[in-house]
Symmetry: C2
Subunit: 250 residues, 2 copies
């Protein structure tokens, strides 16, 4: 499984991914799911990948080759992020279709694209295995790939467009930590990329191993605060139970 | 969708369920999912239900009729909670099978059974649509039905066998609140039943409507504490980004 988060803020972008892949519980490996394209100084592009590893590796290889060979349609020639999402969708669909036709097995994968092209706003897209894609909204400034449910409440609680890059980064780490606690197939190292709007230089790219002191500090602090919060919740001794006439009894 | 939690503690049992059913987004209704059997003073039994509403209503009706008609195998004649789980599994499988054979549509449902028979320990079982069942463990003292992921981290964080009944009740309400925040198909009223071990009298049965002042207090207090926790997380300004040689760049 996989867990990736992409957040699009007024201040820029924050992308976070785990690094665990598995093909069955005895075939667990570590692969980076974060890929940056920095061959054109007028843009910053990051791709996150989830799903069948052969498919995502094939897509990234194809995309990289299209850049290197100077194909007419590649990451550097398209001038709208939506067009780049469309292009990635086409590459993805072709890769999946080939193997589906040959074997009947559908090696599904999903991509996330974050970035900015000079003269336009930064944005974030999620690209489905069918090749179509969605973006974030003002109300929901984030997208998730993979094992998304455990870590969603904390994102819903804290993220708005106005959230700072560092707060969004911390929120992503808490969300990732909750997910790793509840699902064994999401695992470290965690990669995180922070892109301040209109920068177009190398973004800040972090990697947190399982024993990273900062990750452990976040985990412990969060657990301590939640324990204190839990212990201080209002008691409900005063609440009145229902009488038997109001419930399903037989 | 549905969200139900059953917690088995040294001190007794806590069962919580939402009340929303839906068959498509324009067919949303409110049905209690909590059913108590109190026709034999040597036992306290509670059944929670999730899944196809026709199946769960049919199962409860059959179970109630078996009690009323004094069938040899019913909730009052079986003396082990596991045997009652087995019986519920048989009723469930038969109900599902009949409709599957007639139409091909599989109206799946899942049950939870909590309770205590005199002379034995209280316990909690989850009964699958296939009729088999599992119980809680010392390490995982709870079971969940339905939309379980959003609310799982908070249960993992706070529940042990030694947790008090009231703490488990509060934990369940927080878990339910997180789930309702992230999933529109889980909704109030929330029913909660607290059964202190070896009591064998009517358990405390609560119902929390959407605007219940205590539920609102829990929600606000939890949100306030989490906001404070979030604002006090250690900053990671000091963390060193990776150099470009360590990441996937092209």
């Amino acid at each position: 499984m996989t867990y990736c988060i992409g957040i699009s803020l007024d201040a820029g972008l924050v992308l976070t991914s785990d690094s665990r892949t598995n093909a069955g519980i005895d075939h667990v490996s570590t692969y980076s799911k974060m890929h940056r394209c920095e061959t054109n100084p007028d843009r910053c592009l990051v791709i996150l990948s989830a799903g069948n590893l052969a498919t995502t590796q094939g897509v990234i290889q194809q995309v990289r080759r299209d850049v290197q060979e100077g194909q007419p349609r590649n990451l550097n020639t398209l001038n709208y992020l939506a067009d780049i999402a469309e292009y990635l969708g086409d590459v993805l669909v072709n890769k999946i279709r080939k193997h589906t036709e040959q074997t009947g097995f559908v090696p599904d994968a999903t991509l996330m694209l974050g970035g900015q092209v000079h003269g336009r706003n930064p944005n974030m897209y999620m690209i489905y295995p069918q090749g179509n894609y969605i973006s974030t909204s003002d109300e929901t400034p984030y997208l998730q790939l993979g094992e998304s449910k455990y870590g969603k409440p904390v994102l819903d609680r804290f993220l708005t467009r106005e959230t700072s890059l560092e707060d969004a980064a911390i929120c992503s780490l808490i969300s990732m930590d909750s997910t790793m606690k509840s699902n064994a197939s999401v695992g470290p190292p965690i990669e995180m990329l922070i892109y301040p709007r209109d920068q177009f230089r190398t973004p800040r790219h972090y990697k947190f191993e399982a024993e990273d002191p900062y990750l452990i500090a976040i985990r412990h602090e969060w657990a301590n605060h939640l324990n204190r919060a839990f212990r201080s919740m209002p008691r409900f001794e005063g609440h009145h139970p229902l009488s038997n006439g109001d419930v399903n009894i037989f």
